[in-house]
Subunit: 191 residues, 4 copies
DNA sequence: AATGAATGAGGGTTCATTCAT
DNA sequence: AATGAATGAACCCTCATTCAT
């Protein structure tokens, strides 16, 4: 594993454990098993690791979505699989997402966020286009614009459940069902 | 204006300008026109101004929504007004929301985020219930659960437009139209 | 004694003891009996104390010159008194002058040096003018321009003796005599 | 050019540009076009380049003086040539001299300063002796002692002009003339 | 209540030097 | 001899907080 990777993974660990604010660079390097100065060969500051962490998380998202997705399944089920993937990741890495969000908001790296998310947007756009081509979602929907709405909707739903609400299995299931229903109508699903 | 108010307003200004982390208490007191020590007569620490700022923002949200909302308008137009209100707030105060979020995330009181939004959630829930009662939105929609989905959806759409995309008036109008359309279908609007 | 004075005097002490390079700000504040941060309320950096030290030294020069100077003495003897004053100070504070010279050369404070020296230049100029007016030094001498030459000459002579040469009382006396002779001819002394 | 020479010349450049304290070894090696580690094959530390730089400067001094000097010229003109040489050197390389001085002052080898000047002192002493032998300067002058006075005088005059005063062509010419006059009288020139 | 000079612990960052290749 | 990535001790400076006035 390269030193850069070591730093990123160690940063995720320590940020999760202590929070961004309270994390010292010395904590990160200790956890990464490298020298203090080595950190600065790869990142100019503590917060500049954030985009790299974000990129790792988007990789995880794509992996999860692709793993769960079944080409042969019904559109309805496929959407549920996407929702499940995002929900699972939010649940599992909620603190990482929270710190990325906070960390990115604090710095000037905001614009990078879009670039980092690009692969997920592209994948979703293709998915919607195909479904629209075969007539399974309403024609009036502009897939490119809606892609961002849908991803934003699913993620904010997940955040509601796993970040803000006191987590409760039954409530989570109901909230997910409401979301699927909401999406069903919004997309004008026909199948 | 009381010194406490001066501090809160000055803190909002400076936090927006420099970010929470880079803001010094000395910046706040300079902007507020008071002495360094006076700050500590009203707030025990820099971050403890956050809840007061949050309260100011809740007021702004409710004021904006209520100001724009017209009881007599069509449901479709009322929804557009809500979207406009959230868009406006995001555009104007997105950095403030981000810093409250970040401040809250740092102090581990993430759940409080919900409290801040509570009045807006409640108002939106009532709005949906009424519309549902008169049969203007689909019966299958659970207003309470959907409230959070809708607000999350509108906000994430607003962020896409005002933060990540390079802002472009025409594109913004189209994206807003797509969102209204998306909501129209999701709610099963009948009128 | 004000904190600023404490810092200057402590800085002189520590610089003399350890040299500029090896002196830490923490050494200065320890010697001054103040807190680390207090230093930065008065000086922006370690080297920025240099001009203040230089000013103290020029004060010492003026005091020494004025103390030794006798209005009633012969011109020849008066010049010897000035030389004695500069020699004494260079001898006593050779290390301080060395560090000022080095410290000032290293920073951007070079131009300030002239301002700091201004009182000495002015005093010397008046001295020469008066002697010229009563016909004791050659008329062709431009007092203002020569003032700087003379002070430079005396100081460099002193440095030669006390800083560079291995000090030797007899040699010092001879070198001083040569300087007085040199000045005698240069000024065209008539009395 | 050998790597050692490359390092010395690069060090002079960078030291002049940024000052000794602010110069990093990495700056020197970058400018020299060699690897970081290579530096330490030739010099044990950053400051240890100083003597090598000093040696280069001695060469420059002697070269300049000898180049300008004309055996056949009048004594008066020869002195002007010497002044011109020192003025030129001060103007062109004053910062290098300052940094050598500072470097030496820091390492407590202040006495070495004299060694650097030794060839110049010797040359000047011979020059004065010859002039005295043929009766062109006063007999009472001790050439050895005066050598140091004269060089110190010329240098301090040059520093006044090129460093402290805001440089001004006309003023510089007058100041130089005053210096020549001063020297003329001090040496008791007869021709 | 208000002030603002003083505090000093703390952490980010630098950079001379090393060493495996 | 040459490299340059890695090291980690060293130190500056910041800034939240205190407290005498």
């Amino acid at each position: 594993m390269s030193k850069e990777e070591k730093i990123i993974l160690a940063a995720i660990d320590v940020f999760r454990d202590k929070g961004v604010e309270k994390t010292k660079v010395s904590d990160i390097v200790k956890s990464a098993g490298i020298a203090q100065g080595t950190f600065y060969l790869y990142f100019p500051s503590k917060l500049s690791v954030m985009p790299a962490i974000a990129a790792v998380m988007v990789e995880k998202i794509m992996l999860e979505v692709k793993n769960r997705f079944q080409d042969s399944a019904s559109l309805e089920y496929q959407i549920e699989q996407i929702v499940d993937a995002v929900f699972y990741l939010t649940k599992e890495y909620r603190d990482v997402f929270a710190l990325i969000y906070a960390g990115i908001a604090q710095t000037e790296h905001l614009k990078e966020w879009e670039t980092i998310y690009a692969p997920f947007y592209e994948w979703m756009n293709n998915f919607l286009k195909q479904a629209q081509n075969v007539g399974n979602i309403r024609d009036s929907l502009n897939t490119e614009r809606s892609t961002k709405l849908i991803i934003g909707l699913i993620e904010s739903a997940a955040e509601q459940i796993y970040l803000y609400d006191d987590f409760d299995e039954e409530n989570a299931a109901l909230q997910k069902q409401e979301l699927l229903d909401f999406l069903h109508h919004a997309l004008g699903l026909r199948k």
